[in-house]
């Protein structure tokens, strides 16, 4: 439950910055700052792991059931009252996740500073244990996509397919799964939650599966055609494949994350589709993975960050193209000493059924 590597890094950070207390805040959707130190999948809407410079740890939680799970430190369950009591200690306070904390709770600590940037920076290179969990999540993503491709059929509704995939991933031990989907033809411009649209022959079906194992997420993006892919769908996939491979070939410690986006976009430009690499048609060319499924840095040409060994991210040049509508293709990647390791084992192909 206690991430000892992070404990050491965070207490060192506190000493370096002169902070007396470091609060790691999480809420139900963004548990990542809390879980980077105290890996508890809490239920209540709020939680804080409060660390003192001398290394004493306390968990401030919302739900009594959560508190019973904490074995490594004292835990309390009246979140706002307990936080208020904690604030009366005084001293120099830093808060990781301060930006997403309720304003009334931040106001309890008038001089507090944000530790979000510093803690994110510590979290980017993953520890061996974290990498083990992300590898398991990537393996589950592969198995989940295999299952997705097996069970999809013409006439099934999008939400029914999601029900099947969710059931499969939970059965295999996923803690959660973030999944988006789309189906149809050139009219499809992006993924979203499932609808009651029934799959039709000729549909291009896009999905991103993002299973979570003991807090850590990995992702896979693939496109499947129901029936024989047409020439334009194949032409489109070839561009996505080349683009994503360009990122894998380029990625290594020291490169600028902006260039990881650029090499992907350059492939689209080479084929005359440069305009489809902008925000009108796409969000990002990838993003970090870890205790949040959409971690910084985003893979964008205007985001500059030197890539570090043991970072985990996905490169996915997902976008709309007039050839085939919205298409996705992406793999989770681990930055190694000299390049990157592809964590997904699913075939690099345009799936069909």
């Amino acid at each position: 439950m206690l991430n000892q590597d992070r404990f050491t890094q965070l207490t060192d950070l506190m000493a370096d910055r002169g902070w007396d207390y470091l609060l790691l805040y999480g809420h139900t959707w963004r548990k990542d700052f809390f879980r980077c130190l105290l890996n508890l999948n809490f239920s209540g809407p709020h939680a804080v792991a409060a660390l003192t410079r001398s290394g004493e740890l306390q968990a401030l939680l919302s739900d009594p059931w959560d508190a019973e799970s904490v074995t490594v430190c004292p835990a309390s369950t009246d979140f706002h009252a307990d936080l208020s009591a904690f604030s009366r200690r005084g001293g120099r306070v830093a808060i990781a996740g301060m930006e997403m904390m309720e304003a009334r709770d931040v106001q309890l600590f008038p001089g507090a500073v944000s530790a979000t940037f510093d803690v994110e920076e510590i979290r980017r290179p993953k520890t061996p244990r974290e990498l083990e969990l992300i590898r398991r999540a990537a393996e589950l993503a592969d198995r989940g996509y295999q299952y997705f491709a097996e069970v999809i059929e013409v006439g099934m509704k999008e939400y029914e397919l999601v029900a099947e995939v969710e059931a499969f991933l939970k059965t295999k031990g996923a803690e959660d799964n973030f999944m988006l989907i789309a189906s149809g033809g050139v009219e499809v411009t992006g993924m979203k939650p499932p609808t009651d649209r029934a799959f039709q022959r000729g549909d291009s079906v896009t999905t991103e599966l993002t299973p979570q194992v003991d807090g850590y997420w990995a992702q896979i993006c693939r496109t499947l055609v129901l029936g024989e892919p047409n020439a334009k769908q194949r032409e489109s996939f070839a561009i996505f494949d080349e683009s994503q491979k360009a990122a894998e070939d380029f990625l290594k410690p020291g490169v600028d994350i902006a260039d990881v986006a650029r090499v992907q976009n350059d492939v689209f430009r080479k084929y005359g589709f440069g305009e489809y690499t902008g925000s009108k048609y796409t969000r990002v060319r990838g993003h970090g993975l870890g205790l949040h499924c959409d971690e910084n840095p985003y893979v964008l040409e205007d985001v500059h960050y030197p890539v570090k060994q043991n970072m985990t991210l996905i490169a996915h040049p997902n976008t709309y193209l007039p050839l085939s509508g919205y298409m996705v293709f992406g793999n989770s990647l681990l930055v190694t000493a000299n390049g990157c390791e592809v964590l997904n084992r699913t075939e690099r192909k345009l799936f069909q059924k």
Binding site: A103, Q107, Y159, A163
Partner: protein, 294 residues
């Protein structure tokens, strides 16, 4: 979470229900009221518009004399989908929520606006809403008839499927049982569900690979089209009326559920059975005569 079937059936939730809800939010002395939403904290904006941000976060701006406007971090590529499942026609791309809100205020000449639960806004948004006067509003939002019907539908779905499935859980791993429930509930139209399980030594917790015994208990939080309920059952068949000391969570606040009580609440409690801890609970409506099972 929040990746299930988001839908709006107007025979179940008529457009006119939103007119009354929006009217309750508007203030004669304020040109607009702003409501915050994100992936988990979605109850309020769902109530006023049926919008559910499966990703990112948003502001719903409810002007005094106009239809509401959504300031949205999501891409315009998904606006047609948003329009298909909400009452919203006006959606403004808002990479910076407060920046876009302040721009809107400037364009409309609004110097003083209301914000629902303003002190509970995320700090980054709260601290950057400067240059205008923001009035912190709190609003009691008891569920209306349409909402009660949908909460009731969710409760009946939860109770019915659990009654059938709990006996099948004994001997299965908690992961396998969770997967079985995911399939049934999502195929039945559940938008989201959170499952906690115990075999009697602990309270219900996220599944962790244990085999379910005859004393296992399950806590199910279920969302049906934006309407949450909680139901707790045990395989031992232990049942007890709502005791005075039960732990209560409001289902009528900004979050799906949080400690406290209100017009609609979940309650849970613990019993002993053959040396094991077993749990039970359900969803209730507060009435003048006391708690009434929903």
């Amino acid at each position: 979470m929040k990746r299930g079937w988001i839908n709006w059936d107007q025979t179940e939730l008529p457009r006119t229900a939103f007119d009354a809800r929006l009217a309750a939010a508007r203030r004669p002395d304020l040109p607009a009221v702003v409501v915050y939403t994100d992936i988990w904290r979605s109850n309020r904006v769902r109530h006023f518009s049926n919008f559910m941000p499966y990703w990112n976060r948003a502001f719903l701006v409810i002007p005094r004399d106009e239809p509401p406007t959504l300031l949205c971090g999501l891409s315009p590529r998904v606006y047609p989908w948003i329009r298909s499942v909400t009452i919203l026609e006006n959606i403004l791309p808002s990479p910076s929520l407060t920046g876009r809100l302040l721009q809107l205020c400037s364009e409309r000449g609004w110097t003083r606006i209301g914000a629902l639960d303003f002190t509970r806004f995320p700090h980054d948004l709260h601290s950057s809403l400067t240059g205008i006067e923001v009035v912190d509003l709190s609003l009691e939002i008891p569920p209306d008839d349409a909402e009660l019907a949908m909460h009731r539908h969710a409760a009946e779905m939860a109770r019915g499927i659990l009654a059938e499935e709990v006996p099948n859980g004994v001997g299965r791993s908690d992961h396998e049982f969770t997967g079985r429930l995911e399939r049934r509930f999502r195929r039945a139209g559940a938008e989201d569900l959170v499952i906690l399980l115990t075999i009697g030594a602990t309270p219900p917790l996220p599944p962790r690979g244990v085999t379910l015994s005859g004393n296992f208990s399950i806590s199910l939080a279920l969302e049906y089209r934006g309407h949450w309920v909680k139901v707790v059952r045990n395989a031992a068949g232990q049942v007890q009326p709502l005791p005075a000391g039960a732990y209560k969570e409001t289902l009528a606040g900004p979050y799906p559920y949080e400690s406290g009580t209100g017009p609609l609440f979940a309650a849970r409690w613990e019993m002993a059975n053959q040396g094991s801890r077993v749990f039970y609970g359900d969803t209730y409506r507060a009435t003048p005569a006391g708690a009434e099972l929903l």
